[in-house]
Structures are given as C-alpha cells and as structure tokens.
C-alpha cells in the first residue's frame, strides 16, 4: 500500500514539475528545439535541475542499498550501445520534434488539453503495442534489468 500511495504522490510531484518547468507546453519545447529560430534555452535549466537532483538521489539510493518500501533497487545495468538504442532514440526524436510532446507531458496534458493529448496518447500507446511485435520486443526490457542489492558498481 505504501508503494501505491508514494507512487501516486511522486506522480503528482512529477506532473507539477512538468507544469512549472514549461516542459508540458509543447510550444515551449519546440522553441527550445528551434535553435535556428528565436531560441528559448529555458528547458536546458529543466534538464540541469532534474539531472542534478536525480544524480544525488541515485548516489543516496546506492549508499542506502534497500529502498524504503521495496525489497530491492531495480536499475538498468546494460552499458553496451546497440542499433536498437540508436534507432529507437532517432524515431523518438522525430516524433518529439513533430509535436513537441514526449510521454510525461502528454499524459499530464490529458487534463489540460484533453482532445489533442488523448489523440497523441492513444497513438503513443499503439506505438508501444506495435513494439511488442518486434522480435524479443516484449522480453528485452527484463533482460536489461538485474537485481542490484546495493553494490556500489558503476552501472
């Protein structure tokens, strides 16, 4: 139960962060990506703030070992680069650049701009379902995760 309640509260905080930062405003995202136009560098500050706190959280979580409400940390440990990673990121980048929406903001906008966000989210879910038809598409994720009971490795 604690896991559920904390996840809900953390989701709320994440969504509020998206709203406050401007990440949930597609026009703002596109202005950040439009380096040849009237470039708006604001979102670089979102990235800087988010990465700094996330990095601190990672160090703390590693040091602590066991999460408060779960039995172990589940952190991706793969370090190899493969074609799927690059192709996936490239396709994602095209989609992100077309509409200025990525998964988090799209979900948060469901209650702000319901029709447009719902169209995007529905298509996004279809895209995710299509991925399951890629050979090993449904399994690869599990393989890229491994139990890590607090080893201070470099994963």
């Amino acid at each position: 139960m604690a896991r559920i309640v904390s996840a809900f509260a953390i989701g709320l905080l994440f969504g509020c962060g998206l709203l406050v930062s401007g990440m949930a405003n597609p026009a703002k995202v596109l202005a950040f990506l439009d380096i040849a136009g009237r470039w708006d560098p604001s979102l670089a500050f979102v990235m800087a703030g988010a990465v700094a706190v996330s990095a601190a959280g990672y160090v703390l979580a590693r040091r602590r070992g066991r999460p408060v409400f779960a039995e172990r940390l589940e952190i991706p440990t793969r370090r190899d680069l493969d074609a799927r990673l690059l192709a996936g990121a490239a396709l994602f980048g095209i989609g992100w650049g077309l509409a200025g929406l990525c998964p988090g903001p799209a979900l948060t906008l469901l209650t702000v701009a319901p029709v447009q966000a719902a169209i995007f989210v529905a298509a996004m879910v279809v895209g995710m379902v299509l991925f399951r038809f890629v050979p090993d598409g449904g399994k690869r994720r599990q393989m890229s995760f491994e139990a890590s009971a607090g080893h201070p490795s470099d994963a």
């Binding site: 709320l12 406050v20 949930a24 708006d40 680069l81 509409a99 998964p103 279809v126 598409g137």
Partner: protein, 141 residues
Amino acid sequence: MDDVTPLSALLGGLMIGASAALLLLLNGRIAGISGILGGLLASPSRETGWRVAFLAGLILAPLAYAGLGGRLPPVSLGASAPLLVLAGLLVGFGARLGAGCTSGHGVCGIGRGSPRSLVATGTFMAVAILTVFLIRHLAGA
C-alpha cells in the same frame, strides 16, 4: 513566442529530479514514463499497482496544481490531429525500441552516468532539433 523562463524551468526541473530521486529511494524504481506506461501493456504483475498510481498522479497533477492555487501555465499545442497521430506513434514505438524517453534516459539515466542514456539523449535531442529545423526553416511551415 514565450519569454525565456530560467527560474521556473530550474524549479520545475528540481521537482522532476526530486520525483525521480524519491521513486528510487522509496520504491527502488526508475521514473521513466515510457517504461512505466509500456510495462502496463504487458500482463498484470506485482508492478501494476504502483505504475497505475504513478500515472494517475501524473495525469491528475494539473488539478492538484490548480487546486493548490497554482496558475496553470499557458499551453499551446499547434499540431494537427494527423500530425499528433504520427508523432505519437513515433514517440511510443521509438521510446520502447530505444528503452527510454526524456525522463528515463534524459533525467534518470544521465543522472547515474549511463553511457546508453547519454547516447540516447544526445541522439533524440539532435534528431528533434533537426526535425524542427526541417519543418520550420526548410519546409516553411
């Protein structure tokens, strides 16, 4: 065009980073939105409950934000319906194929210094910048 807003961007970024840190410290999980949503498309498991709760929080955030007296920032979504469909398909499929999105790779992965996440983030940022350039400055849209 919006004005440059470094302070609210930084504050929002700190909140996003805090969410990622808390999910890891409390629940031991990565705050990657595409991974959380994609995980729900598989058969139900012990992970289903917290994933649904997290996404519910994410979706209800604007109501909480407004309820606490926050003024919802302006949202401008100019894309047409067909463009939203195409973009959504690419974002959903690409995020799963590339094992992460802006949050999973960009915030969590870079935060722990993952080379895969650094490369993925560099790739999707560069491609998104190129896409916007082609649309806005070459196609004249």
